[in-house]
Symmetry: C2
Subunit: 544 residues, 2 copies
């Protein structure tokens, strides 16, 4: 990554002078400790996934100096978080909490509002507070990564429990669940398997949800709902509170597992394949959040730059893709299905036989025998992930471009041929217009699928950034017209995406604003996150 | 049921004169239609489950005239609901929405505040708006019962989809889920399988949650979360909105099923059995929300009055219970486990063999061969329910007492021997003190269990009502001291139960009140439900 030198100096929050801001930062230093407050006056450095900056999005799609923090504060405990919130209310300074800040594709560690003070929770609040080997649950702080949780289970010899990890294992278990991220075991819907939050409200009070509200409760991590309104949901994808603890279910070791891979030759196989997948997935014959990927991603994830294959303008031609595929152990194809079956051998066989029979209904479908694949084949990374073993290999497709950055288009769709086709076509059209390579992956949930289209771009290339931005915004609008909405989005697209959820005169957003104003009267917490602006910011042109 | 004659006349809402109230009721008649507004000036009749009154709790634990409605209104559509809400705001009249009002054990159809206008949504808003045979989902209005949904599936020939039903099939699919009720197939956690709500806010706006906020969305019933804060949870067990539509997942027909029953001889078997159940349940070898019942409930559910077995004072003696059990096809025992295994025969066998081997570790455990059981044995009712077939047989234990009423104590506990024992002991102690028969059923969720203790009482017997009330309140306090909290409770116990969720100076309740005041500034919607009082009511002694 190139480190562009800074033109604009320290990003001072709006409504406070630079001098005053420096002064009140000293107050914060006094409260939290000198060494735990950092002014962001250095170069905006890049990095790589595991050693990333926490002051901005190193994969910036806008100008590098747009979404930057004024300072970073590192609370050591819940009381510190309360103090920070109190301080922010006093001086009306926007805070932006992150757990580990590895939210790449969706904004990384950057705040939505330039000059926010980033609350980096993960650095010091990184304890695994409990792992319960009988209940199969854990309680974690924001700084616990999938790697850390996995290693702790191994260390304690808890082989009877699995974690669920997204494609990359370096993220925060808590932060990812709050953003409603997904992994690839049967416990892949992270939000649905969490149980219990501890939250610092924007006004400073500390709350425990679910059974955690009962002093001495013994079921905080086993029963999510508690009594009365079940409030956890409003703390996900929101700016209503800072989450300081989260409970989560761990998956029982299924007693065996086995990855499988099928390839399908033609683009048009997508639709009939989806019709086959849907009933198998709903009835749990297909058991995990599997991925159906376009073969170009299979090429990209080998880690070589695009220039190795093609140096022309516009999307890489079909012929080249298929020529390259022929050279891989998979052979030529257009779609690759990565799945896993769980349980003892005879139980797996029952399911795998059904899958095989159904998948082979697509002419030219092939099962790739894993024993024929070399150890460095990407298949083995998916094998680890579907078994809950953290990995980083997925990062390799970021190398597709120099200064490889990426940003995601992530609409939700029914698991249907017609919907897969419509989304694929609109993405294809907009990618072609922008001259961008299309690498879609359909992640099949239970009754819906998340289509994940990652645009890989060179963040030092302004014109490429603009094209990527245009392409994304067009896809979001096109999709909304057809009834598809994003499940999650990048900071810079939040206003647009939130705007598509506008049924009945924006009833949902007006409701969210009502909650925001009630919970955060001074509008200090993550203004603009998920399109929710506090009263103080509304109607002042903050939307992008 | 006896119908006590009314002493107190029509229950006029507080803060409005009787004359004025009658006047504004005419306004409501004008808005909604003459025939759809009923003054509650008749006798407070009893009824039975399927033909129950909607003006009060026919199973009253307090005086029959305590929790009664002033009037009932029947909206025909969402606009009607908005009009009713508008009217209530104008005149500051408390509303109490019910779907079908069969919430027996938890308050039936009664409002929490005497004189509320009951909004009976179910009578006219009772359409199944869609059943999707590909996605395995449905969209229902408040008045759709389990029976109605089941019959519609049969009518359409959708044998590939199952519903999940609680013990009684006459309740509302939507109302039960909103109260976070449970059923007994693998889809038994109703809240967790719902997807999408339409809500009329206390201020009258209509909102759609999840993907429903995206106009023309095609995934409202398949992807629950949508974009931004996931707000559904705060509309469950709350008084923040009136829900007019709800989506829900339907279970795929598992391709076979098989009920099984085990009996265990001794009271002390409870603890080791729970230790056996927990890992089997978490790993889905035990697949449904099964029930472990005390044998007295097995006797009671035969439908004969207690007086047939025992006419003395105090709890029915152990010896009599066991003498009676000997006469049943189950033979003598103390605990009965009702479970079901799903899938094709060889898959079931695999699971059932594990269960058998584990359960038989309890000395004297016996598997009861279903083929030895007569057709009217209660086992076959559980068999239906675990296969998603609505039933009513469970009602029979209500006959235990004349004017048979019941009220539930429903704490959540870890699935552990020690916890089962602690809860059982405290319930036993308090029942003995009150001279009440103890009939506990442990409903094992996934990582926790709902203990359901139903106290059956004669609602015409004031002293028995008082004893039941005392017993319940003591159990709630005892349980809270040990870290157990209720998952749901009766209207009259809501303040007490909410009071046990008081961590950090009642942080959760203060948060709920903040939301309540923001969403319902005039405090018109179900004041006091789940212990949440709007500003206008607080500090005025409404708690009971
Ligand atoms: C190659 C690649 C593959 C990826 N694959 C996946 C995938 O398979 N699945 C997936 O889900 N994601 C995926 N991602 C996206 C991302 O890397 C992960 O979701 C990652 O886990 C998120 O970063 P984090 O956990 O450090 O969260 P953070 O960045 O710490 O949190 C995410 C956001 O949540 C909010 N937040 C975090 N913590 C708190 C808190 N304590 N209180 C209040 N708000 C908070 C903040 O707004 C923050 O911006 C992928 C990214 C890359 C680069
Ligand atoms: C013998 C017996 C066995 C039982 N077994 C079970 C069981 O196994 N599982 C179980 O869950 N329950 C059980 N119950 C309790 C009860 O019968 C069911 O839960 C029943 O489904 C609830 O009644 P209902 O569906 O008519 O809901 P309603 O009474 O209509 O709704 C329940 C409450 O939710 C709120 N509400 C309802 N609709 C709305 C709305 N549209 N908007 C806002 N708020 C609303 C109201 O406060 C209402 O009081 C049992 C009861 C008996 C008598």
């Amino acid at each position: 990554f190139e480190a562009p030198s800074r033109q604009r100096g320290v990003a001072i929050p709006q409504g406070i002078s630079k001098v005053k801001f420096f002064e009140v930062l000293n107050e914060l230093r006094y409260e939290i400790g000198e060494e735990w407050v950092e002014l962001n006056d250095k170069e905006l450095k890049g990095g790589w996934y595991m050693e990333h900056p926490n002051t901005h999005d190193m994969m910036n799609i806008l100008d590098a100096e747009e979404l930057v923090a004024s300072a970073v504060v590192y609370p050591g405990d819940v009381e510190d978080v309360q103090k920070i919130v109190g301080w922010a209310n006093t001086w009306r300074i926007p805070l932006f909490p992150i757990s580990m800040g590895r939210n790449f594709g969706y904004g990384g560690a950057a705040p939505r509002v330039r000059g926010s003070v980033t609350v980096d929770l993960g650095k010091r609040m990184n304890k695994i507070l409990s792992i319960d080997p009988d209940d199969y649950t854990c309680l974690v702080e924001p700084g616990v990564s999938y790697y850390a949780l996995y290693e702790e289970l191994k260390k304690r010899g808890y082989d009877h429990m699995w974690i669920d990890t997204p494609d990359l294992g370096g993220g925060s278990v808590l932060g990812n669940a709050l953003d409603r991220g997904v992994g690839y075991t049967p416990y892949g819907d992270h939000w649905s398997v969490h149980s219990g939050l501890e939250v610092v409200l924007p006004t400073g009070e500390v709350l425990r949800t679910g059974m955690g509200a009962l002093p001495g409760s013994n079921t905080w991590q086993t029963f999510p709902y508690g009594f009365g309104p079940y409030s956890d949901g409003i703390f996900s994808q929101s700016n209503f509170g800072i989450v300081t603890k989260m409970g989560m279910a761990l998956m029982p070791n299924p007693g065996g597992y086995e990855s499988f891979m099928y390839t399908f030759p033609k683009e048009e196989d997508l639709a009939p394949l989806m019709e086959i997948i849907r009933p198998l997935r709903i009835s749990n014959i297909l058991e995990n959040v599997a991925q159906l990927r376009h073969c170009l991603q299979t090429i990209a994830v080998r880690g070589q730059p695009r220039s190795k294959y093609f140096s022309g303008r516009g999307p890489i031609p079909e012929e080249i893709i298929h020529e390259e595929m022929k050279k891989t152990p998979l052979g030529d194809c257009t779609w690759v299905y990565y799945g896993m079956s769980y349980g003892p051998p005879h139980i797996r066989k029952y399911k795998l036989d059904v899958v095989h029979q159904e998948f082979l209904k697509i002419p030219g479908a092939r099962r790739i025998d894993p024993s024929t694949l070399p150890a460095d084949e990407y298949f083995w990374s998916r094998d680890k992930i579907a078994a809950g073993i953290p990995d980083l290999e997925e990062l390799l497709w970021v190398n597709w471009m120099p200064n490889g950055s990426h940003i995601a288009f992530s609409p939700i769709a029914p698991i249907r041929g017609i919907d897969a086709t419509k989304l694929y076509s609109l993405a294809r059209k907009r990618h072609d217009e922008a001259g961008i390579d299309l690498m879609p992956a359909f992640c099949v949930g239970l009754r819906e699928m998340h289509l994940i289209v990652e645009i890989v771009f060179d963040s030092s290339d302004i014109s490429m950034r603009r094209k990527a931005d245009r392409c994304l915004r067009d896809m979001i609008d096109d999709a909304a017209k057809l009834g598809y909405g994003e499940y999650r989005t990048h900071l810079v697209l939040m206003d647009q995406v939130a705007g598509t959820y506008n049924w009945n005169g924006n009833a949902l957003m007006r409701f969210n604003e009502r909650l925001k104003d009630a919970l955060d009267p001074n509008g200090i917490l993550a203004p603009g996150r998920c399109g929710i602006w506090p009263e103080r910011y509304r109607g002042r042109g903050w939307e992008i």
